[in-house]
Subunit: 317 residues, 2 copies
């Protein structure tokens, strides 16, 4: 049951009218800096502030009657939690979100604000996956994982599909990499719509499990990395995402936290947009490949803009 | 020689391909908060980060050969300086910008970066208008003032023209007010394209000279007001802008600096955009009129996004 571009086409039809068709932004300053033509797909302007809404909504749209009634369960301290909570609310499905009890109050509040039933756990003593599985078994709820799920991958791929449809084929495309849902979906869309485009996944230096996996040919597990890119603090790629990445991606690059802050400052001061650290991965990597990009048409996926404004301020101060 | 909508149409043709046609942003959260349909014209995404580029470029485009050769002079510590410097660079006209010697280094650097010849003066001992007039007389340069100039007003009006063309007629429209270039240009566009729309100018509470003038019927002068809305620290409306405002605007409203910070936080955290304090005036006022706006179609002009990122961080912290 391999995932194909046709699944992305079907996902695009399902999310239409629910997800935003986010803008593609351009910046003369960025173009001048890189000597290239850059197209930024602004998923920070997606509903709930990140691309995750696409995959969440697509997955929940496919629930049958029994699944809708029993509800969905998800574990996440980040954007996936809000994506599932909001999608469930829109589709009238009860949602239980398992979050660490020390998660930022603003994230718990946002998830509750989207109508999610938040269950907290002690991340030092309890296993969130076990809690999720127990709820799924006891109450018949369907567990939607953050990236390793066919409908999630297909949904995430709709952002790249929109980008290529709007700007045409590209020479290079830079996509953030955590667990690989966005990158694998983007890879399927890229190979269908801009087959000769060089496609790069980008990770934080401290969490380069994807790069290690890509280069060794097998999924490498690491400890939770210390990086400001909290959306890319995954410990390993997925069994569904990795084969697609291995087949369809050209390479995995890394950038430092300092380079992420530089990119975040560029976005704020020159393009007037708020981008969370994870969302800066693609542009930070593109800046490091300046020589190769000269005269080229380059896509950059900005994954999201969800960051506590105090933290944003502190990082830029 | 009164200024009309035809001048805005002519200005729009002159700036086409040079100024950005900025996006009109929407936000479900803003719509839900106000129970209205809000359209944000995002001039923070204009070239050099503010609507001022429109008026500056329009004015310089109309220079004759002798004027082009002798150059332009402008005095400003803010967005007008950068607008004139960039427009002059694009049109191959030498530009001299008179800035206070204690202006933020970043603003002086930005103006120089756009190719402007920056002349600094001591704002406590010297009169910038006298310096500007002397340069204009001695060297034959043309002085372009920041707002009280027909071509500047016509250029600023193109933003509202684009908004109405994109979204159709509106019930309410909120526009920031400093010296009145943007508001008077917007008023001409509004009366031509959405004649029944209620149009409000919005000032900082501390600098309500426009409100006083509007209500008394004559231009009121005040001391430089203390407000974070540095683009609205003007001391009086202009002899060209006031008659238009008096005739075509429904009222002038004011908001506090705290309300501006609240709006700035909303833009950053919910819409993921960076807006300078002056650019927050319109939305801050709309939020205060919530009851009247229910069920209505509402335009909000976001004037700019130029703020030192450290200052932005400090205001949101």
């Amino acid at each position: 049951m391999s995932i194909t571009f046709e699944d992305i086409v079907a996902a695009a039809a399902r999310i239409e009218g629910h997800a935003h068709r986010t803008p593609v932004l351009t910046s003369r300053t960025a173009n001048e800096e890189l000597g290239a033509e850059i197209f930024f797909k602004a998923e920070n302007m997606q509903r709930m502030g990140a691309f995750k809404f696409r995959g969440g909504f697509n997955a929940l749209s496919r629930f049958n009657e029994a699944q809708r009634k029993a509800g969905v369960v998800a574990f996440s301290s980040g954007n996936h939690a809000q994506a599932i909570a909001l999608s469930a609310k829109l589709l009238g499905i009860p949602a239980t979100i398992i979050m660490p009890e020390d998660a930022p109050a603003s994230k718990i509040a946002a998830t509750r604000g989207y109508g999610g039933n938040v269950v907290t756990y002690d991340r030092y003593k309890e296993d969130r996956e076990a809690i999720g599985r127990r709820l799924a078994e006891e109450k018949g709820m369907t567990l939607i994982p953050p990236y390793d799920h066919a409908d999630v991958i297909a949904g995430q791929g709709t952002a790249a599909k929109e980008l290529f449809e709007e700007v045409g084929e590209l020479d290079y495309f830079f996509v953030c990499l955590g667990g690989g849902g966005l990158l694998s979906g983007s890879a399927l869309a890229t190979r269908a719509l801009s087959p000769r485009c060089k496609l790069y996944g980008v990770e934080p230096e401290a969490g380069n499990d994807g790069q290690q996996s890509f280069r060794s040919g097998a999924i490498v597990h690491i400890d939770t990395p210390k990086t400001i890119a909290d959306g890319a603090q995954t410990q390993h790629l997925g069994s569904l995402t990795f084969p697609i990445i291995k087949r369809d991606v050209d390479d995995i690059l890394t950038v430092s936290d300092a380079e992420l802050v530089d990119a975040m400052r560029f976005f704020a001061s020159r393009m007037k947009i708020v981008v969370e650290p994870t969302g800066c991965l693609g542009f930070a990597a593109a800046r490091k490949m300046k020589e190769a990009l000269r005269g080229k048409r380059v896509g950059v996926l900005i994954s999201g803009g969800n960051i506590d404004i105090e933290r944003f301020a502190a990082l830029l101060a």
